[in-house]
Every structure is written in structure tokens, then in C-alpha cells.
Symmetry: C2
Subunit: 145 residues, 2 copies
Amino acid sequence: MNPSEAMFSKNAGLTGLPGYALRRAANAMMADLAGRLASIDLRISDSAVLQVIGERTDMTSSEIGKVLEIQRANMAPLLDRLESAQLIRREPIDRKSQAVVLTQHGLEQLATIRRVVLEFEEDLMARIPARHRPHFLPALRALMD
Amino acid sequence: MNPSEAMFSKNAGLTGLPGYALRRAANAMMADLAGRLASIDLRISDSAVLQVIGERTDMTSSEIGKVLEIQRANMAPLLDRLESAQLIRREPIDRKSQAVVLTQHGLEQLATIRRVVLEFEEDLMARIPARHRPHFLPALRALMD
DNA sequence: TATTGTTATACTCTATAACTATA
DNA sequence: TATAGTTATAGAGTATAACAATA
């Protein structure tokens, strides 16, 4: 069923439209992941930041934002939160920039995050019928920007 | 590349994770659609509601909410907006329930919405490489609930 | 008793504008 | 001049709790 068929079908409703289905799938996925991360008191975006700085050290706030498509302005309160939770430290690079680095506690939490996220991603893929599975990520990446 | 490979690859970053890619793709899609609907002064959820009541007449607010997974509490201000814009009317069914019906202006706007959304959905699918395309909607629907 | 509609409230993600200080 | 970090503010989607009125 292509979009035009879906729009005029009485059966499928909006769920026959890829855009609408994409939104609903993403919402369900976010709710699931948010629930799993709530047990370690983190938001989805918190965990994304921690995962990024766990792989690339000495990144500035702006660089993290570019990688994750988080606005500079929104990085500040996010990092404030992570700093309050003792998960990261801001270390001066020069008098303008600062590196965002994991604390010991942050490093420990990152191990948990990786475990939670990996299990989450595997559960997610497991719900997709096998014949469609290998096509899912390539399709998403084509839409990502 | 499966999730576990992606988690420990230095190259792909988080975009190798289907869940993260799903979130990014949905955000990009929503921004695109929101932009197209802004020209007719509607939000994405406004257009979804109008599309639904354009196909099934005499639906109550609660019923629309169930179909679109919009909380009852969030339907009220949404319908207030649509009513202020003269796109819908609330008509009493009994002393408790009311049907949400399209006005003449709502019916005219719906024609535009259908055109905009159909073009949007086609553009969206066109960005996905052909070999992945037929698998996209089935995969999303498997994740939808 | 369960449901409808509503109000109030809050959280998360995202977005823009504007300011400062420094590269 | 451009960039880094920040503050303030707003919009949009989603969520829960609670209430009155009615089925």
C-alpha cells in the first residue's frame, strides 16, 4: 500500500502513512527507552551525551551538540544536570572552551547505560519481522538528514 | 551492522543504533511536515485530527483521542483551537458526549491538508532507496504498539 | 460504576534571540 | 569576525491527577 492508497483507504487510517507510522513508532520507542533509563535516573538525551563522551574524549559542549543535533543553548542545562549528578566534569581547554569529561561515577554509569541501551536496541529489532529487519536502519539513515 | 557492533564501533557513533536513528529520522520528518503545515496555520496534530474526522463522521473527542493516541486531557485545548479557527464544531450527541464535525471551512482545509500530506508522504518515501522502501512501513507498524 | 469532557499542571525535547567573553 | 558558553524564553507533544456531570 503506497501513501496515496493509504490516504483514501477506509481501513488503515493514518497508520497506513509512513510519516505517521514513523512518528508513532518513535514515540513508542522513546517511551520504552525512557522507562528503562528512569531506573538509573537519566533522560534519553543524558544517556546519549554520556555515550558520546565515552567514546570521544575531550569534546566540547558545542562539539557534542553538533554530533547529537542538540542546540548549543540546550546543552548548557543538560550538562549542568549531569554535572550536578557528578557524572561529568567541565575542564578548561583555554579561556573560552571547556572539555566535557566523564567522572569516575560517570564511567561506571556508562557501563550500565551501555548494557541497558544494547538490550533495548536488541529488543527493538527483535520486534521487527526478520525479512524487514535488515532494511530498517538503512531506511532510517536515508531519512536522518 | 547489528546494535552490538554499532555500540562498540568508533565510526558510526550512535547513528548505528536503530533506536537512535529512529528518533533522529522522526524528528527530521516532523520538522519537515510541521513546516509544510505552517503555511496553512496548522500543527501536525491538528491535521491528524482533521484527517480522522474527515473519514469517520460523528466521532467524539474521546474516540478521536483513542485512534490517534492523544490523551483525553490534551484533546480539549486542541479542539478549542480548531473550533476557534472555525474548522470544527462540537455538536451534542446526548448531555454528556459531543460529536466533533467539520465545518464548511474545515472541509475545504481538509482538501488542502490531504494534498500537502500526500505530497509529503511521497517525498518521504522517495528518499528511501528503492530496495529498502517496501520494508519500511511494515517495520514501523511492528513497532507501533 | 464507568465514561465524557474539562482544567490545571508539569516534563521533555526542541527552537530562537541575545548577551559575554574569547579565539 | 567567528566561535563558545550561557541565559531567557517559547512552542509543541505528551503525561498525570482531579473534578463535575452524565451514561
